[in-house]
Symmetry: C4
Subunit: 239 residues, 4 copies
Amino acid sequence: MFTELKREAYEANLEIPKQGLAIYTFGNVSAFDAARGVFAIKPSGVPYDELTPDLMVVVDLDGDIVEGSGRPSSDTKTHAVLYREFAGIRGVCHSHSMYAVAWAQACREIPVFGTTHADHLTEPIPVTEPMSDDAIERDYEVETGHQIVQRLRGLDPHEVEMIIVACHGPFTWGTSAQKAVYNSRVLEEIAQMAYLTRTINPIAPPIKETLIRKHYLRKHGAGAYYGQVETPDVIDGLK
Amino acid sequence: MFTELKREAYEANLEIPKQGLAIYTFGNVSAFDAARGVFAIKPSGVPYDELTPDLMVVVDLDGDIVEGSGRPSSDTKTHAVLYREFAGIRGVCHSHSMYAVAWAQACREIPVFGTTHADHLTEPIPVTEPMSDDAIERDYEVETGHQIVQRLRGLDPHEVEMIIVACHGPFTWGTSAQKAVYNSRVLEEIAQMAYLTRTINPIAPPIKETLIRKHYLRKHGAGAYYGQVETPDVIDGLK
Amino acid sequence: MFTELKREAYEANLEIPKQGLAIYTFGNVSAFDAARGVFAIKPSGVPYDELTPDLMVVVDLDGDIVEGSGRPSSDTKTHAVLYREFAGIRGVCHSHSMYAVAWAQACREIPVFGTTHADHLTEPIPVTEPMSDDAIERDYEVETGHQIVQRLRGLDPHEVEMIIVACHGPFTWGTSAQKAVYNSRVLEEIAQMAYLTRTINPIAPPIKETLIRKHYLRKHGAGAYYGQVETPDVIDGLK
Amino acid sequence: MFTELKREAYEANLEIPKQGLAIYTFGNVSAFDAARGVFAIKPSGVPYDELTPDLMVVVDLDGDIVEGSGRPSSDTKTHAVLYREFAGIRGVCHSHSMYAVAWAQACREIPVFGTTHADHLTEPIPVTEPMSDDAIERDYEVETGHQIVQRLRGLDPHEVEMIIVACHGPFTWGTSAQKAVYNSRVLEEIAQMAYLTRTINPIAPPIKETLIRKHYLRKHGAGAYYGQVETPDVIDGLK
């Protein structure tokens, strides 16, 4: 019944090891079908090279299983919160990629140090507040989603498609599952660039606002001129 | 006679180069048969791509050869001490993986900086005391085992399945040889994450106890909900 | 009509991912035909593994399309400025390679710390001035070219074939498109070596002038004795 | 006439890219035939994937060509000095590997921070004095050899088989060409471990003398017990 959705989730999950975003099973992607209010997600604890489209688990926005015989990812409820709250997104990705985790563990947001960052978003990569003991003990994965939504307040989730959960790691999203993984890979690249920048020059300043806007608008919005004409919104080959 | 045991050791040793844990022959894994009181271990100084199951050396808990024509790993007696002292473990892995060695050489334990660490253990990765001159000159590999056991005192070797031997490198263990290698790979990942965290924020604090317990218990114990139902103890695809 | 030129550009662009200089589509190379005053360049936003020679876009030195159905790289006008201003160059390469970007984001030139650097140029790798708001808002890619040309004033673009654009990343050039990519790979190597040197010894001095000249002249000019006799200008196997 | 010697040099040169010790043509190995007083070395500026055994250049200890139509490596005279001065060595390797170069550029010797180092030598990795202007302008490659020999004075070149040439990079040697490359790979590993150790703990001390001797003697000398019985001197699978 959800053949196409499960295939999309399956293929996006395969990108995680291909892009070097996780060892073993330390990451998961989901693909959302907004019309039916369900998403397909990686089964928990299954290595990427054992995945098949049929092993994907389809759940609704309460996290209840709609189709599939396995357990969904333990992070499923966080994905559900993001689909509920960020209208228009169709994919979510979570991993423990090295440099994004390092900034998460350092509890520091990533300043806009250069144009690679500004090509993708105009804001520092936000970091959530550390979670309260109460929230941790209540419904941890739901609360992780709330922390993300809370931190995004005042920002547009279609502009800022990535966040670092303090002490944990990155969550990214986008208009497709593939785009969500793409954003995780970009975040990892930006995180490593920022790490190196800081260690060369501990007082390196962020770049100026005009340069940020210029680079962002080369790739986004009505005046964008990056990519091909027939696919004006294309970012880096992802349709 | 020990066909199965030697195959298990052989396959686990192949994981060392595959996971990038050692160059040349700088690592070894063993698989333990508790009923017979013997373990199969890598022959000393033989490159991974020349290994065959038949080259594995089977030794008893005194380190005496039971089957095999080659010399066992020079670290064999350390493995033997761990099998004697840590009831229930079935595999031991030793390597000189890059970041674990860096912490070993810095003689520093690895704080619990994030959930990747807490997913696997609730304690800092312990580091042994430096060995006394006497112990070094006595029976070095046995004494290395004693240093590990000594440092584990008060900890549960089924919770803390990894340690850093000061000035040397990592030893890990687990309920199978594959699990022992898995723990070495995880330790390397945690060690690199901690390295980067420290260099971004030299005063980064460890994460709070509630978060540590939450993540550990997602994967371990009666209430665990990570992995698949039929294999409740599965961690990351390792049965 | 431009079959050969497009093939040269195509093959040089494939070197970008092969040499690890960019993820996704974060880099582009062009090949210049001086006689006809045109160059072939990567189409914008197309992944390297989807490129074919026919997808290369041929443009003149105003950046106007001469042949090709797609949009050329968004950095095309920067390439055009360099071909106009640096007589004799035949290739330009731009990427967001990791360590070169780190120095760009730190707004620091790369000192001549060793002979690997001196084998290729006798000067620190220059970094441009940050661009003014006016220039950013005028004709950004043309102005990027101007910043580069401005910074090269007083230097020979056939000796200094690489630069770091502040807050952005590397541009390199050379007597062919392949040589331009080669220079990007060398710059990345030098940038990483300098990064590590600085973090081991924050006050490491540049090497002495005699050693710089010696190494440069082993590979360049009438007395060069690196490479094979029949190809006296050969550098590292690139004809 | 030198078929076997050229094949040995050829195969050892192929190890350079395989072990990640150099990009493009930034490294060379030679194999020495002591009886005939000649060695085979990589031709200058030829990429590794274009090498064949027949392209190897055979030279005598003055660096004069005995067999081969190409130019030998520009570092040939340095190799010649080492074969003259270090009786018993049969291979020399030079590369610009990343971390060894970083220490070279920082002009710092590498302390014995751990057992990986002590498994191979009991001394810090020595670094040469910077070369005088006179020496640079005289006969640079010969003088590089002299700097190495000078720094090794008082040390045994069969114990210390590796050195860092200040501002330049590593030279290593051994009882065969393969062993020389092996030593380059080990040096690179030790150099990276030491880099990380220093940045975790800037005042990390070297390990104690008893531990150094213990590890060195596990692998070297009459009482060695690493490796297989039939090849008591085997180090890491290299016969």
